[in-house]
Subunit: 245 residues, 2 copies
């Protein structure tokens, strides 16, 4: 039994997210397990670094699974890709030690959130950006980012109803990039609470429209109360860029 680590890219538009769910065959985990089970001729379970939500994309999702069949390592990506639909692709495969676990061993994750900040929507980018019509003040957003970077209790930036004990996380990088008509918010950290990136983005957007002041951001962190932070930005703008180990 070999433990195989793969790098996956997917367009999350047509899926109910990574994780297998009852009542829908449209999850990325399901598609991948179906393909691997066919290749392996016996059931395969796939573990991903992060269980991306419905509509969230990935360029560098990492997953691992155990394989019985003696298929050469360099043939694995092509074998998988031949059976996967066009919106999922395996970019790399390598063999790792049997105790490697894609989720538990992840040391960091990097996400990008794309905001299309113009009046007109864009037909070609509609599934990959959040179209936000109102003007955003990039200068104040860039200032607000300072208060969120570093190690904090991010309870206020966690979807309500979450039941995680340790809500302290470290954001190593939080950058706001001016890309013409798009604004990219890039965030890197040791781990993220449920919906944390999207709530941070929603809060930064409200900072950009002056609904929330820069000073408020510090108070929101201290409040440890989800209702104080901004809205949850839509899934389609989010992409998991990289997982580090």
């Amino acid at each position: 039994m070999r433990n195989i680590k793969i790098i996956l890219e997917y367009d999350g538009t047509n899926y109910s997210g990574w994780q297998i769910q009852k009542n829908t065959p449209h999850t990325i985990q399901q598609k991948l397990q179906d393909v691997l089970t066919e290749i392996n001729k016996s059931p395969v379970k796939v573990i991903a670094a992060g269980r991306t939500d419905a509509g969230v994309h990935a360029r560098g999702q990492v997953a691992n699974f155990f394989l019985d069949v003696p298929i050469p390592l360099n043939k694995i990506p092509a074998s998988i890709n031949r059976l996967l639909p066009g919106d999922i692709i395996c970019k790399e495969a390598c063999e790792v030690s049997v105790d490697f676990h894609a989720r538990y061993d992840a040391r960091g994750k990097e996400y990008r959130y794309r905001i299309l900040n113009q009046t007109l929507r864009d037909v070609f980018r509609r599934n990959y950006v959040y179209h936000y019509r109102l003007p955003l003040d990039l200068k104040v957003i860039k200032e607000a980012v300072f208060y969120l970077t570093g190690t904090h209790d991010f309870s206020s930036f966690q979807a309500s109803g979450s039941s995680i004990d340790d809500t302290v996380r470290t954001i190593r990088k939080l950058e706001v990039l001016d890309q013409g008509c798009e604004i990219w918010i890039e965030i890197e950290g040791d781990g993220f609470l449920y919906n944390m990136v999207r709530i941070i983005v929603g809060t930064l957007i409200e900072v950009g429209t002056k609904k929330i002041s820069i000073e408020d951001v510090k108070e929101i962190l201290n409040a440890k109360d989800r209702t104080r932070a901004g809205f949850t930005a839509p899934a389609c703008g989010l992409i998991l860029l990289k997982v580090s180990y």
Copy 2:
């Protein structure tokens, strides 16, 4: 009755092309006519500069229609866009003389064809490029382009079964652009025969793989025989960039 000229952008992926057809509600013309009929409160017929095929995209399609209701010109794009699906958008509207006809008055069209020339397919670009795995010799493609530019009888580059008398067309510009992992073929002319752009691209790809020589290209033109030219490149790589009047 005002004659309104609009500029349209659309993602053709989910449509059976521009033109209304029996047995499918999924045409761009149908969507637009439904929306305009709702706004106008009486049936509206929309004429486009070019009837793009299923899967072909547009950034600058031009269309015109007659409107009875006294809706201000500057309100027309937003009124239409509110009712259109996310993959079609009206970017501009202006009033033109009653005898303007989007198709008959068009003096030129510009298309771009995108080839993704790398081993791996790309999940995000899958609907907007033609993924061609084999290496292509750009140098010979650029030389072959010389023979196609200008005024020629393009019978060999017309879908078989077409019944058009005048098959002489002028290609004013035919450029091959190296865009890293993508190759763009940009073509501008006074008009194009059915499938002409896609057959030119297919032929240039076969030049790039040395299946067709540069000298053959001249002979293919002279032969006036569809079977001599290359394959018809897939629709998804094609986008109508601009129509000139």
